[in-house]
Symmetry: D2
Subunit: 295 residues, 4 copies
């Protein structure tokens, strides 16, 4: 099989490597001349046998849409585009329609695994028609982790279902991280009683209910820096977490733990909290409580 | 009527003033010789006509218990002690039993109103027997705000009910403050669109659903300091808020808004968040996400 | 002054009454022949002196947009449209642009007060240019509550600021209601100790920190039905609450109390919780904990 | 090595089996004559070589305390008691003192693994002196899972540290379960888009960030009952979760995700929510919003 990839950043380049290792032929295009295999998308398309299969792996949002719009003008009816980026699932409906006008097929693929994917394989959640998903199966099989297909790959539903599932995956991920983090603080706070916080996390890796891959990563982090003394409690958040809350709101799904995780990140990035200034001001008004004067 | 007060701090002294203004005779005792009327509790008790009525207004916890234990040894059967401090309602059961052994009656009184109570009157929630509450009614009537008795005073239930109601009052208060504070931050954050945040709060004072006394206080605070520039977002919390959560847990009552208010205060006092350090460490492990190095 | 109103539902009709009572001339149009003053928007516009002032009071979303689009084709340059509905503030930008193409001015007005507005007046938050707001001031003065203008009216900022402020107002309102509701449940749950829950809320109306208009309404509700036995714990939510969360997410503002309020409403409407089914299933798997079988 | 166990319920009996399989000699006592090896604790103690090692595995709280009080009167100085039950860590201080009066040593052991422990081994977190912990190591090594000791066992700190760590473990566990459950509901709600919810969880088992043992259990549950149609969303909670919140409050640690998990369980068990009745009553008062009448 011979496929094209548009976008050879960290993820795209890793995927090209993994696909080639699996024996597939891959032609990749990137604006960066140092990593690209061809000069442009026209050359990429010319290099691929019809019906073509092009994997798009560029930043979500306007860039993905512009790449897909470009492909819509250059590909032929019957070709298949797969968006493997972190697109919002609502964008998939736009992309699908854009390509369908030219008779081009579309599959969306949510991809998990981060920097570990090259060696471990990428967890894949895809959306699209059964035929389109089947056609791309050699690519999915090459990218996904070793083991039974269904444990690292799912055809989740219609176009959009892949990115929706990935979005939910990330929402869950946020709350899992928050769970361990709250536990960490509860342990760390009682240093009068607890003498080996890293040892506790290490010991949870076998036999306990909370064992997980994230736990293993936390053990690794605590091995490097047992008191996390080198790390500031400042945490970014990405689109998927925010979209998860928006979809929860749209669908009237209560998500108190996931939203708590997002809000904790927002707070972590504030120098001072306007809301807490307001609470301090109120307490000062009604109770004569002392306030801390800002410098 | 002639009553005794033990404890003439800010609240106790204000109460003595308000009671005297209402025409009651008050003898107060405080360890501070500058404010006390008598030399000790023995002198206080000697000054009061039997059956006596002693209002205790000292810091909650061990100090209140020691004062009540002292009174238990000195008062006579048929006397009545009222604890008007911020005691935990579970302490009332202990205090009631301690006094009952000597035939001394007990009423607990939750008091709201803070520094405004001297002029506005104090909101009162009391617990005890109907007879004991009736007996102390002239005191309650003098302390409570003008207007119909039932709008500023309630006989809430058995001994403990007064402080329980006050505890819940404070739990609600925390969440009300948090509500306005979140709204404040939402307005303040969009200074591209919103040009008069203090004006918005001011305008909510008439005709809106959110009008309240706390809103008036926030308007006052914003008049003094329209951007709250002089105030740090650092907020203490007191026993009642914490007890509210504990009682919620004990009684399986979901209190997501009240607990959110407490947690926001905890966070406001942290230099850095251990939990968020753990999240940052995790993200760095699995995604290669950049972390902020602590200095 | 002579103004037009489009939309004479409960709110629009109340506003027409209040404006007329204040001495303004009002021509109203509604699709319902029983309440309308004129046959259509063309007749409405013909009846108004130029430059015209038209207040739109129809359901937010597509209906408001279609009314404004219709007015854009019929009004003249220099006329002024005010949207007093519950529009999302982002719609204001669209409406402003739509009208500006025809030289028509636009002001957005967030309105609070519900069914009480007719007698108490409506709390008003408006966005637009200083000139446009000034021009409509007789209308705002007639609609707003008695008392100082700034306590029931605010020019909050640019177009959109009025509805943004109203959205935040409603977000706060949700959390205030949740605060009292959590307190109610904490009191109600301890009927072994607390004998007069309605009396407690009644007593909070004077002298306490938690006094507010919502508290008065709760007292009223508890007077009618002291145990709320006739009411099901089923609560709808409207656009403003959801938009508040979305804006919080968009602007990285932590809103744990407001979101808790929304999630509690979502949960209140569920026959059974899919999430809790999943938790029950998990507990059953790892602990052999008994589960409740669905019927 | 020869040890005694008091308490041969599900957990205690499994532990006896696992210890015997590992080659240790175990004498167990239980009130249930069908499972006990001896007639009473006196017989148990007589059967053990001095210095003795007795593992207590009975329900936490009063029962554990009474067993330990009984052992304190019967064991000899230098003997060692290990409490492997789900005791609150604050009870450990009492138990330690009770035994220390008789010169008896004490170690607390938090145990994870549930019904899977017999085959997988039990995750162990212990507190006590280095000497006492070392002395009991053959027992810990027999009970803990295969693999490096530090991945299934930790000497967490002083007496109490084992149960504290276990308490935090369970708090984390609650939030992890809530995280997956919220994700489940987000997927399940969009059945227009998502056609294979169990397949998605199955696919997350390899290569994704959210892979864990709990995920595997959820996959297993969904295999048995893909729509969880047989399970009611009714979830109990146990002491550890509640204690976690109390300790968080005591130590000013914000735990929004863990508390959200507990509150969700509380709500899951309510026929109707008093708090939501109050919100419905309020909405009805101020907005004339329709309410659902209770039957």
């Amino acid at each position: 099989m011979h496929i094209g990839i548009v976008g050879l950043g960290k993820m795209g380049a890793n995927m090209r490597d993994r696909l080639r290792t699996a024996g597939l032929t891959v032609t990749g295009y990137d604006r960066n001349p140092e990593v690209t295999d061809v000069a442009g998308t026209a050359e990429l398309i010319a290099a691929l046998p019809a019906p073509r299969l092009v994997w798009v792996m560029v930043p979500a949002g306007a860039i993905t849409t512009s790449v897909i719009a470009d492909l819509a003008t250059k590909l032929s009816p019957g070709d298949l585009v797969i968006d493997g980026g972190n697109s919002r699932f609502t964008d998939d409906f736009t992309h699908e329609a854009l390509l369908a006008e030219q008779g081009i097929h579309y599959v969306d693929a949510g991809v998990s695994g981060g920097i570990w994917g090259l060696t471990n394989g990428f967890g894949l959640m895809v959306g699209g028609s059964a035929e389109d998903v089947e056609r791309a199966m050699p690519v999915f099989d090459a990218l996904r982790p070793e083991g039974p297909r269904e444990e690292g790959f799912v055809h989740a539903g219609k176009v959009g279902a892949g990115h929706y599932a990935k979005m939910v995956h990330n929402g869950i991920e946020y709350a899992l991280m928050q769970a361990y983090a709250e536990g960490y603080e509860l342990l760390e706070k009682r240093d009068d009683l607890i003498h080996d916080v890293p040892g506790i996390f290490t010991a949870w890796q076998r036999g306990t209910v909370v064992r997980s891959w994230l736990l293993e990563l936390l053990v690794r982090a605590l091995k490097d820096d047992p008191q996390l003394g080198d790390i500031e409690g400042y945490v970014e958040d990405s689109g998927e977490g925010r979209w998860t809350i928006e979809e929860a709101i749209n669908n009237a799904v209560p998500v108190p733990a996931i939203s708590a995780s997002i809000f904790a990140r927002f707070t972590s990035r504030q120098e001072d909290s306007p809301a807490m200034k307001a609470v301090a001001a109120l307490r000062n008004q009604f109770g004569g409580h002392a306030i801390k004067k800002a410098d």
